[in-house]
């Protein structure tokens, strides 16, 4: 039992502690599995897994679309978010308010509305026809507003003594940002950022409304085709977890690596 409790002064790599970690994890997981099992057992439902298996290529194709679109949007949204975070702190006020309005309105309205408006109104006006490109753009703009706020919070968490110090050693504003503010802000932003990336991946499912046949849409189509209520949600959940868990894991590792005590 003692291995399941950790003491304040414990070193992270003691053998009893490692055993405790594995045991605790197993305990927690099996508890949850049991719960799920009990719930499903009480459900009077006629499972039909073979038809889900039949449609496996549909799952895989959808998943790949989701991966591609999300990856592209992830990078673009970081760019947009970074620029916007800086612009909302710009000394040129119209620019600052432009981006502030962008951030608030984008975070304040549903992605659904933005998706339809941008695709059928704005993209149409400038004759941007490729739905994948527009889709990635919409997703990036949406997520970028959140990333912008996350970065802003990170930037503001850097104490003024750090900025004074950076100035004193002759850093330009850019160097101050690059070597002092950014590393510290990144460390503080990582958890929120990882959450936002997971959101982006999941939000990409809304691209189905402009007929991009991504993972969720395809899974639901399988459900419709096979008239199953639940079966295809298992591959769906797993498919998203395959993408999101590594992000969380990576973020945790980076958090540890970049850790510093202020």
């Amino acid at each position: 039992m003692k291995g399941l409790l950790i003491q304040e002064g414990d070193q992270p790599n003691q053998p009893t502690r490692n055993l405790g970690v594995v045991l605790s994890f197993a305990l927690a997981l099996s508890f949850l599995c049991l719960l799920a099992f009990a719930a499903f057992a009480s459900l009077d439902y006629n499972w039909n897994w073979s038809s889900v298996y039949k449609y496996r290529t549909k799952f895989i194709e959808g998943w790949l679309v989701t991966v591609g679109v999300s990856a592209a949007a992830l990078i673009t949204s970081c760019l947009i978010g970074g620029i916007s975070a800086l612009a909302t702190r710009s000394r040129f006020l119209p620019l600052r308010y432009l981006f502030k309005i962008y951030v608030e309105v984008t975070r304040g309205t549903p992605l659904l509305v933005q998706m339809l408006m941008i695709f059928y109104v704005f993209a149409d006006a400038i004759h941007l026809e490729n739905r994948y490109i527009v889709g990635i753009l919409i997703l990036s703009l949406f997520s970028g507003a959140y990333v912008s706020e996350i970065f802003r919070a990170g930037i503001e968490s850097v104490g003024s003594s750090q900025l004074l110090s950076a100035k004193s050693i002759g850093f330009t504003p850019y160097q101050t940002f690059r070597y002092v503010v950014f590393p510290q802000a990144l460390r503080r932003s990582l958890p929120a950022l990882a959450g936002q990336f997971a959101n982006l991946i999941k939000d990409s499912s809304l691209l189905s409304i402009i007929a991009i046949s991504e993972f969720t849409l395809n899974a639901q189509e399988v459900n419709t085709s096979t008239l199953s209520a639940f079966e295809s949600f298992f591959p769906l959940a797993i498919g998203y977890l395959i993408l999101t868990l590594p992000i969380f894991h990576l973020s945790r590792r980076l958090e540890k690596q970049l850790a510093f005590d202020s």
């Binding site: 006629n46 149409d124 007929a211 639901q220 419709t224 085709s225 209520a229």
Partner: protein, 242 residues
Amino acid sequence: SSGPEDNTLVVGMELSYPPFEMSDENNEPAGVSVDLAKELGKHLGRPVRIENIAFAGLISSLKTGKIDLIISSMTATEERAQSIDFSTPYLETGLCLLVSKQSDINSIVDADKSGNAIAVKQGTTGHLYAIDHVKHATVLPLEKETSAVVEVTQGKADAFIYDQMSTFRNWKRHPDTTRPILKPFKTEHWAIGIRKGNQELVNSVNAFLTKFKADGGFEELGDRYLSEEKKAFKELGYPFLF
């Protein structure tokens, strides 16, 4: 849902397919299916409650006993019949096309050319038809009927496969930019969905439908909700829905 002591008849439908399933200005369920459900309740002597459920969730809700019946313009397909039972059909309609006003497409064969894009609404029989029969054109499965229409008006899609009545109504809404090709290339039947193993209810629903039809109930519903369509279909020479 209905326990043994509560004999309310819970009817599931998606209230987004006017004039069959919709909400009125006071946000109360209304439309052909709602009236039909109420008539059915009267016939069975049970109070009726309408549950507004997304179309994709209707069958799950029925199977898990959250509702007793589906009356939601649902086409009785073979696949669906494997997991739920259907009453005898109460309406016949067909799939047809909505195309852009300038388009020279006149049939599904014209539309199914490589380089063309055909819009469908996700999960509808039009979608299922497209999956099985559209060989050359790209299929655009859209979540919303209105999006599909906009795709056609903007030339993003060359045709939109949908049922006759809706196609007619969408054309009326956008007469300057669209053109309907109302001749059906596939007919289908709507029926009431009932949980499997409930033969008694199937029987009484069927009995009700027969009686309702014989009493001119459907004629009356058509006049109440679809008078314009009824007239137009008569002029075009297509059989009307009921």
